[in-house]
Amino acid sequence: MTAGEPREGGLPGERELRELAAKQAALGEIRGTPAADPVNAPMIRHWLDAMGDENPVYLDEGLAPPAMAQVWTMPGVRRRAGDPSPVDDVLAALDAGGYTGVVATNCRQTYHRYARVGERLTPATRFTSLAGPKRTALGEGYFATWDVTWYAETGEAVAEMMFRVLKFRPPRNQEQPQTVEPYPLRPAVSPDTAFFWEGVRRGELRVQSCGDCGELRHPPGPMCPRCRSGNRSYAVASGEGVVHSYVVHHHPPVPGLRPPFAVALVELPEGVRIVGGVVDCPPGDVTVGMPVRVTFRRMDDELTLPLWKPKERR
């Protein structure tokens, strides 16, 4: 197992990362969920308008702009990440190994033909390679590469994409104008919980779900308590919640926090409960049943925490 914190000396988790990458690559191409909608004129018109693209050929001939390939199978706002992707586990393991920074470096799309209005595309993802560790301008990191192919209902490949990201270890002593004191309380990030913290970095509240029966659970665990499946996925919660219970902490002192402060057990409409601090509200005003909303607060240069604030305020 990869340790939650980067190990001292050497190359943290290098062997584990290589083995995982080889395993994920060996899975081959994994099919995703078909697009929610077939290729359609309203979405094409909207895209052309936003891009400022006045090429008449698409709407005249019922063709999708080829660069829209990925658009058709984007997951939407309240995505259910039901699609098992061979890439997710590799990115989560890199996070757990301390390579928490991410930047996309390459996107290469090949269009076999233009998708036509009425066609429903299905994506399929193949993890291809993990290269590293390498020294880069951003810090030490790994290049992760995967391929996505979009198929028509006939099984014909319409478009392909090679996508590469650099997952890097943010330098610790980097001179930054916004440098703040490191927040003393660090979450223990493990391969089991890396998806949650990756979500926090993106401003998403992720709840683990069973990859088979879809049951949600929190905190994350290795096995579904309902159907005992070990396949894991996650859903993105709406971010709304209600205080189910809470405590106001006065004593003893906690590093980085000034008492009194409130910690709540928040019940999500999705059906799970999550523990978190309540902010933007005097602790004495917290009540059971109070509607709250998640807020992502930057604690220091590396850490963002999901906290809760009264729902009425923004």
Binding site: M43, H46, W47, D49, A50, M51, G52, D53, E54, N55, P56, V57, E61, L63, P65, P66, A67, M68, Q70, V71, M74, P75, G76, V77, V103, A104, T105, N106, C107, R108, Q109, T110, Y111, R113, Y114, Q178, R201, R202, G203, E204, F296, R297, R298, D301, T304
Partner: protein, 144 residues
Amino acid sequence: MTTAGEPARDEAEVGAELPALSIDLTPTVVISTALATMDFTPVHHDPALARAQGSKDVFLNILTTMGLVERYVTDWAGPGAVIRGIDVRLGVPAYAGDRLTFAGAVAARDAGEITVEVRGRVSLGDHATGTVTLSLPRRGEEGR
């Protein structure tokens, strides 16, 4: 399906430059393109959250970068062009409030296929550099 009056790109020589295209990256451009590409990642529409994560402002998403590169080349090549591929190396972020300026030139011609080199720059440097491959089918040919 090139018709009379369209830009005649058939004769474009290697080295021929494309006219520049400069796009004012207003928040409206960044956000409307993020939504049109179905990318709801908050850093592309929520300035407070983008700043909390260390970004200067909201910034263009990659699907939009690909779309703008495609538009830049078809603006020049005309509606008869068939885009075969886009290969982009991604650089610095394109933040709201900045300006994205494309330059390009014909890099190769081979059996009806044209490769155009494209560079999209913002104030911080190169946002996207790469190539677009296209063909220009003759009248009556089915290209797409």
